[in-house]
């Protein structure tokens, strides 16, 4: 057991920080927000083809770097800190884990190298709970066809590849669910970008009208995909928590810088104890979140690694719930405090706190809000509610 970063992990963090401080500064983030339909393609090219970040989790056998989820979390923390708008999150945290957990080697060989090359943007279309899954899959000739709708898919309109969950008509709960890898130029898909409160991340509505898919496109055994989808979303929640951690830290750092500079009553605003204590509480929540996120990243690493420790794998639900619930509350709290402690300028479009505040709200909801995650934990600890 060693609960500190290695030299290599620290290098990854530092180089990501250097790159993003420029490539995703406030100006760049705002430029990205005004692109309604996509993310800055030049930035994605740099990330994918010069920095190789999407290759990080992909095994060397598929042309990737074969690193673990801890390294990815280190990167994501910096992405969150600089509000990076990018296909990186969905590609690395949703699509890649789902493909790594797939039991279809031909499919893995088809798509993982494309992700590693930095040229493929992929995401997952799946609700948080099996009961919410509406899209349906029916046998059709040699293959299947998909119908129905996914109402909120992160990056759904931008991605080149969608991993689409659907259930057999008449099935219920966690049974009868399958997932297919579907290139977005397949006929029958209507993808509508939604206008979002947080303009740094894209959501889309995906309508499926007789979308043809083949057996070869299945990610896991037909009818039995829910465990994979659930694990994937838990792992993605851990990745998102790492992002949220970075966002929370930046909200605190912005606040520290501003309150040190701003003077009232003949002294810096930072010198008032009421302000100091609120900043100290932000740090308290951030450091607790940091511990939760690091641990959860280690669990995700074991879950995805071929030689993963089975005892640790069993902690995925608890680790994801703990990390995501803490990170969501911490990020929202810090972002809200940052508006308050900036005073009037905190309420302007020009200053950055509102960008963090909106991202915090959106991230809190995405992949399970704190109450949802705690209820998952409660069910493990105490049994079902009713």
């Amino acid at each position: 057991m060693e609960f500190a970063f290695t030299e290599e992990q620290l290098l990854i963090r530092d180089s990501a920080e250097r790159f993003l401080a420029q490539a995703s500064d406030s100006h760049a983030v705002r430029a990205g927000m005004s692109r309604a339909a996509d993310y800055d393609p030049e930035l994605w090219r740099q990330i994918g083809q010069e920095l190789y970040w999407p290759a990080l989790l992909v095994p060397e056998a598929y042309g990737g770097m074969g690193l673990g989820f801890v390294e990815l979390a280190v990167l994501l923390e910096q992405c969150g800190r600089f509000l990076l708008g990018s296909p990186l999150f969905t590609t690395t945290c949703l699509a890649t884990p789902a493909l790594l957990l797939a039991d279809n080697p031909a499919l893995q060989a088809r798509w993982l190298p494309a992700i590693a090359s930095g040229q493929l943007h992929a995401t997952l279309a799946c609700p948080l709970e099996a009961a919410q899954l509406q899209a349906e899959v029916r046998p059709d000739g040699d293959g299947y066809r998909l119908d129905g709708c996914h109402t909120q898919v992160v990056d759904g309109a931008q991605a080149d590849l969608l991993l689409i969950a659907a259930r057999r008509p008449g099935s219920a709960g966690e049974h009868g669910i399958s997932v297919f890898a579907v290139p977005t130029d397949t006929p029958g898909m209507v993808r509508t970008t939604l206008h979002t409160l947080d303009q740094t991340r894209r959501l889309a509505r995906i309508e499926l009208q007789q979308v043809p898919v083949s057996e070869a496109q299945r990610v896991s055994a037909i009818d039995q995909a829910w465990p994979l989808l659930q694990a994937t979303q838990r792992i993605a929640a851990i990745g998102l928590a790492a992002e949220q951690l970075g966002g929370a830290q930046q909200a605190l750092d912005l606040t520290l810088a501003y309150t040190a500079e701003r003077h009232q009553f003949g002294r810096s605003v930072a010198s008032f104890q009421a302000i100091k204590h609120r900043c100290a509480d932000m740090m308290l929540h951030i450091e607790c979140t940091r511990s939760a996120v690091w641990y959860a990243a280690c669990v995700a690493r074991e879950y995805l690694a071929e030689d993963g420790d089975p005892m640790v794998r069993g902690e995925l639900l608890a680790a994801a719930a703990t990390a995501k619930a803490h990170a969501s509350e911490t990020f929202f709290h810090c972002a809200a405090e940052s508006i308050q402690l900036h005073g009037g300028v905190g309420f302007t479009w020009e200053y950055d706190p509102h960008l963090y505040f909106k991202r915090a709200r959106a991230s809190e909801q995405l992949l399970g809000n704190p109450a949802w995650h705690r209820e998952c934990l409660a069910t493990e600890l105490l049994g079902a509610c009713a």
Partner: protein, 396 residues
């Protein structure tokens, strides 16, 4: 960064569990799950005997360096030891001040002679310690200590006069480490020294203080020309503040693991009651129970971070926030326990004021946010030392 236990770790787990199962028997069986936070007044003599039993198995100072007589266990093995100790219901440790605070302080600042003379008493479960920092006029403002010490004419002993207060377990202690002013006329953290003082002498009077729990774990301690040998000064005269602060840093070391295991047992009891009395079906209590469970995990991960970081009493980010994190967590657990118990929480075990374990927890946790640096002082320290914000204006 890597979590999980190796095969040899698991073998070690068997060894610890086996030893505890074999020894928490007979006269010690009644101590299982006793003496934890809020229950520290129970079975003092029996728990001291248990310390000697533990020592005979080599289980005191498991994280100390081998050169200091400790077991020098790896972090994983220390985690395992504390996990198994809690699982077996090992009683609250009477020796924790010596093992967790005095030992590491002497290892860092003591002379070889002091280490040779004083560490074995701790390791053998023979010598018990108390902490003489706070005074009536020096609480949060600890640097305002007025207790005086001076070398007598022979230069062979220190003579100490003054009053300490809130001194936990002084009535059970063989030794007290005292922060005293050795430079006449000095103010603030200048001119203080760190002295080790034997408690068994006529010139020290210990007066218990009744707490809001009805019991008395802490005391006033009056020093009237109390004596200690010259070689019981740690560091140099005037270095007392530095050493006193470093000692507080060790409070965030491995002893936190043992503390968390006590917390774990308390939480398990609350969960057990919730399952039994139907509270587990209340959606709001479910949220709070899940929050408590994950909050304790986070404390644990925080400790793993602290243990993987520097072990010299210096404070990394995770150590800076640790006191605030656990005191908030624990105080909420105390309240949660009452809310889970509902009506039953109101009725005492016995007259005149016999508290159940959870009632005791509820009341005792109110101290957690006060002692060892109150939550407000923790926030000042975090803001100033970790975040670089301006220092508080001093009134004097």
């Amino acid at each position: 960064m890597k979590i999980g236990f190796s095969k040899s770790d698991e073998a070690f787990r068997q060894e610890v569990a086996g030893w505890l199962a074999a020894h928490l028997q007979g006269e010690f069986a009644q101590l299982r799950f006793r003496g934890g936070p809020g229950d520290e007044h129970s079975f003092p003599a029996e728990r001291k005997a248990w310390e000697r039993e533990l020592a005979s198995g080599g289980w005191v100072g498991v994280g100390w360096r081998a050169e200091d007589g400790g077991r020098g266990l790896s972090i994983s093995q220390q985690v395992i030891f504390h996990e198994e100790y809690a699982r077996a219901g090992g009683p609250g440790r009477m020796g924790h001040i010596g093992e967790g605070l005095v030992g590491p302080t002497l290892a860092a600042f003591g002379t070889p002679e002091q280490r040779q003379r004083l560490l074995p008493g701790i390791l053998q479960g023979q010598a018990f310690w108390c902490q003489g920092y706070s005074e009536p006029g020096a609480g949060s403002d600890l640097a305002n200590v007025q207790t005086r010490a001076r070398l007598d004419a022979s230069g062979e002993r220190w003579l100490i006069s003054g009053q300490k207060i809130w001194t936990s377990l002084a009535h059970e202690a063989d030794w007290c480490f005292v922060l005293a002013r050795t430079e006449p006329g000095s103010v603030g953290h200048q001119g203080l020294s760190f002295l080790l003082v034997p408690m068994d002498q006529a010139n020290i009077r210990v007066q218990p203080i009744q707490q809001l729990t009805g019991t008395s774990e802490f005391n006033e301690v009056f020093f009237d020309q109390a004596e200690t040998a010259a070689n019981n000064l740690v560091g140099q005269p005037g270095e007392g503040w530095k050493i006193a602060m470093a000692l507080l840093g060790f409070e965030r070391g491995v002893s936190t693991l043992g503390q968390q295991m006590q917390f774990h047992n308390e939480l398990e009891e609350v969960l057990r009651i919730a399952r039994a009395n139907g509270a587990a079906r209340d959606p709001l209590l479910r949220q709070r129970l899940a929050r408590a469970w994950s909050g304790l995990k986070v404390l644990r991960y925080n400790s793993l971070r602290m243990l993987s970081g520097p072990q010299d009493g210096s404070l990394a980010r995770e150590a800076m926030i640790y006191k605030l994190a656990w005191s908030n967590w624990h105080v909420e657990l105390g309240k949660l326990a009452m809310d889970v118990l509902g009506d039953a929480a109101e009725v005492l075990d016995s007259a005149p004021y016999g508290l159940s374990r959870l009632q005791s927890l509820f009341l005792f946790t109110r101290a957690d946010t006060i002692y060892g640096g109150s939550n407000e002082i923790q926030r000042n320290v975090i803001a100033e030392r970790a975040l670089g914000m301006p220092r508080e204006v001093k009134g004097r």
